[in-house]
């Protein structure tokens, strides 16, 4: 196939949802909700040694309106929880959430009066990354997994329909 030839018109046949999946996979815009130690590890993920941009997800936006992947990196306290919920709600669909680190996943070893015992009490989560803090490779692995799922259209847009967080009924 000669792509440079003006006489030949090129057509690639595919299914529409596969084309969309491919587009989504290759243009994830993460928003970092970084609060604690895990945010420092995220800095490593973005820096040149690990370099998240190799995976097509380097356009880190700190405005939820411009992002479709929320990475919650760090401890979420009860004081922080309504803010996290607000940020999640400000993101437009389709959107995905990665919970990075033990604190965001389950409260970690902060089993006490001030720490939320996992962000899934407030917002739905698609992927959990363990570790305190996780190594940069672990976050990159989660990103690759998400991209693989997007490519194969694993994510049902209505998957969190039945989700009800602790702050939802007020």
């Amino acid at each position: 196939m000669e792509l440079n030839s003006p006489s030949l018109e090129v057509a690639i046949t595919t299914k529409l949802d596969e084309a969309i999946g491919w587009a989504r996979e290759s243009s994830l815009w993460p928003m970092i909700f970084g609060t604690a130690c895990c945010a420092i590890e995220f800095m490593s993920v973005a820096a040149s040694k690990y370099d998240i941009s190799r995976f097509g997800a380097e356009v880190v936006r700190f405005s939820p309106r411009q992002a479709d992947l929320l990475i919650v990196a760090g401890t979420i306290t009860y004081k922080q929880a309504p803010i996290l919920k607000q940020i999640y709600e400000q993101m437009s669909e389709p959107k995905w959430v990665i919970s990075m680190g033990a604190c965001a996943c389950s409260g970690g070893f902060y089993d006490n009066y001030t720490t939320l015992q996992g962000i899934d009490e407030i917002i739905p989560v698609d992927l959990y990354v363990g570790g305190c803090p996780p190594r940069p490779e672990a976050l990159i692995d989660a990103l690759l997994k998400l991209q693989n799922d997007l490519r194969t259209n694993k994510y049902n847009p209505n998957r969190h329909e039945g989700f009800k967080g602790r702050l939802d009924n007020v």
């Binding site: 970092i32 909700f33 970084g34 609060t35 604690a36 130690c37 945010a39 420092i40 590890e41 800095m43 490593s44 820096a47 040149s48 040694k49 700190f62 760090g74 401890t75 306290t77 009860y78 004081k79 922080q80 929880a81 309504p82 803010i83 996290l84 607000q86 940020i87 604190c103 070893f109 902060y110 089993d111 006490n112 009066y113 001030t114 720490t115 939320l116 015992q117 305190c132 803090p133 190594r135 602790r166 702050l167 007020v170």
Partner: protein
């Protein structure tokens, strides 16, 4: 052990005033103790503790007062740094400070009921916050106190010829370190008034300490200042060792000094990288952050973790240096030097850098002392207070290094002091590695350090010893003690109350970032909005340590 001076609650204010005039004019910390589960020693259920440092910086005093009624006169008229410290005691213990200008919760949220550090409060009883505090009332008070607005007879406000716009800086923004919120009133780009709200990363460190053994607390200390975890480890175990009265070996002391300085470099590079990004200089970030990756590699090889090392133990450390550590360290230092050199070559003669940083975010030495700022932030104002020189420990007096000071106390000085300190730390590390003493790294005492694994697996004494130390913890003699070191951000201290068991009765952290942050609103008022971001970055506020 520190000597504790007792004062009655009625005369406390005048007592502190006389101490202030005697030269104890630097407030380190205020905290309370709830004695309700420790009935043998106390005179009343609650006591307040004030820790002051002398103006020569060489000594400190601990003043304690028992409270018959849960109220006392404020000392905010003597120390402005007492404002937030007293608010914290009110929040955590419910002690009222009379005549305090703004006594409201600081770490816990506004819907919180009860006072979590009281012994009667269950540790796992969480309380949900439904709506974020809008800070409007706080802002109104601030505007009125600064005469930016006037209150009319009808109860409404009039803006005195200014068209104010209100804006939230943070908490969810990388320039606000994710957890610091400052609510500002803007006139154009100029900040007329600012109020800061903290506590978004308050994760209950002090309460968690009360049900863990001393060695179990070490991983928690890692997460105070997570940019330089090892220095928190050292500050904590040093305080516990002082209470136990043990002296660690010369080798352990030298390794601790070396790791303290390495942590200082590790922390400063990330602070400088971040502040230069805030300024728009992204290239510097890569130059400064890459050496940090090399330090991570070295520390993972030594301790098993990149960031949260948990390397220290009461009475020593987990293991000795590995073979070939010194060569690896030399390589890392080379890379740090390269990174610093490259960054300085980009900014040293850069007009934009100078214009953006000089005379921006200024705090005078007098104010900085009164707000109890410490570390590089205080030294940038020209006050040469450095624990390593003024109250040396671990043989710091043997090493040759300079205390880097600034002159103006602006962003430029704070940045340059940190650059200077990286050089000085490298000097100390080189001196330590040149004559590293031989010997063990842990004290040989069965009641403090774990036995060797061979003994645990082959003898009943060894197995018993391991079991008892692990389950019951190191038994620390009864007492109350304040111990501190010069960590990256300044004097990092621990005030520990022991009831003689393996679990501390109370732990309070004297966190350098906390007092630095309390000075921040005043520093940015009158400044441009963009400069407020730089000022915050240059103070190196670490939320984990500030909110605990």
């Amino acid at each position: 052990m520190s000597e504790i001076i007792k004062a009655t609650s009625i005369e406390l204010h005048s007592f502190i005033k006389t101490k202030y005039e005697e030269g104890f004019n630097y407030l380190l910390d205020i905290t309370a103790i709830d004695y309700s589960e420790y009935v043998t020693a106390n005179e009343e259920q609650f006591a307040l503790v004030y820790i002051l440092r002398h103006e020569s910086f060489k000594e400190h005093i601990v003043i304690k007062t028992y409270l018959k009624k849960l109220e006392i006169e404020t000392i905010t008229d003597i120390f402005r740094g007492a404002d937030w410290l007293e608010r914290e005691v009110y929040d955590q213990y419910g002690i009222i400070f009379k005549k305090h200008p703004n006594l409201r919760r600081i770490l816990n949220h506004k819907e919180f009921v009860g006072h979590p550090l009281r012994k009667s409060y269950p540790i796992t009883k969480g309380q949900l916050l439904h709506e974020v505090d809008d800070l409007i009332e706080e802002m109104n008070n601030r505007l009125l106190s600064k005469n930016v607005v006037c209150k009319l007879e009808s109860g409404t406000f009039s803006d005195c010829n200014k068209d104010l716009m209100f804006l939230n800086l943070g908490p969810s923004h990388p320039a606000s370190h994710g957890t610091i919120r400052t609510y500002v009133a803007l006139d154009g780009e100029t900040i007329e008034c600012a109020v800061s709200e903290i506590g978004y990363l308050h994760r209950g460190f002090e309460k968690s300490c009360e049900n863990h053994t001393y060695n179990q607390i070490i991983p928690y200390t890692d997460r105070l200042n997570y940019c330089s975890a090892i220095s928190n480890n050292i500050s904590f175990v040093k305080t516990v060792e002082e209470m136990l009265g043990v002296e660690i070996s010369e080798r352990a002391q030298a390794i601790r000094v070396m790791l303290l300085e390495l942590s200082r470099i590790e922390d400063h590079v990330v602070c400088l990288a971040a502040v230069l990004v805030d300024m728009g200089g992204l290239t510097n970030y890569w130059y400064m952050y890459n050496p940090r990756e090399d330090i991570y590699d070295l520390l993972s090889k030594l301790t098993g973790a990149r960031l949260t090392n948990s390397y220290m133990r009461v009475g020593g450390m987990t293991n000795d240096l590995y073979e070939g550590f010194e060569e690896d360290l030399k390589e890392v230092i080379k890379k740090v030097k390269y990174g610093v050199e490259q960054t300085l070559s980009l900014i040293k003669h850069n007009r934009i850098f100078h214009d953006r940083t000089q005379n921006v975010g200024v705090i005078s030495a007098e104010n900085a002392l009164n707000y109890a700022m410490t570390g590089p932030n205080l030294r940038a104002c020209g006050v040469a207070f450095d624990m390593r020189k003024d109250a040396p420990y671990y043989g710091y007096e043997k090493y040759e290094f300079d205390v880097v000071v600034g002159s103006v106390g602006d962003v430029y000085d704070r940045v340059m002091v940190r650059f200077g300190e990286i050089d000085e730390s490298i000097k100390i590390i080189e001196q330590v590695m040149q004559n590293l003493p031989e010997g063990e790294v842990c004290v040989k005492d069965n009641s403090i350090t774990l036995p060797k694994k061979e003994a645990v697996y082959t003898t009943i004494e060894g197995a018993m010893n391991q079991f008892k130390l692990t389950f019951e913890g190191v038994k620390v003699p009864i007492g109350e003690h304040y111990g501190s070191i010069e960590a990256t951000n300044g004097e990092l201290g621990f005030f520990i109350v022991s009831d003689g068991s393996g679990i501390p009765y109370k732990v309070k952290v004297k966190a350098p970032s906390f007092t630095a942050m309390s000075a921040y609103p005043e520093m940015v008022e009158g400044a441009q909005l963009a400069d407020a971001i730089l000022t915050l970055g240059s103070l190196n506020i670490i939320a984990g340590e500030m909110d605990r």
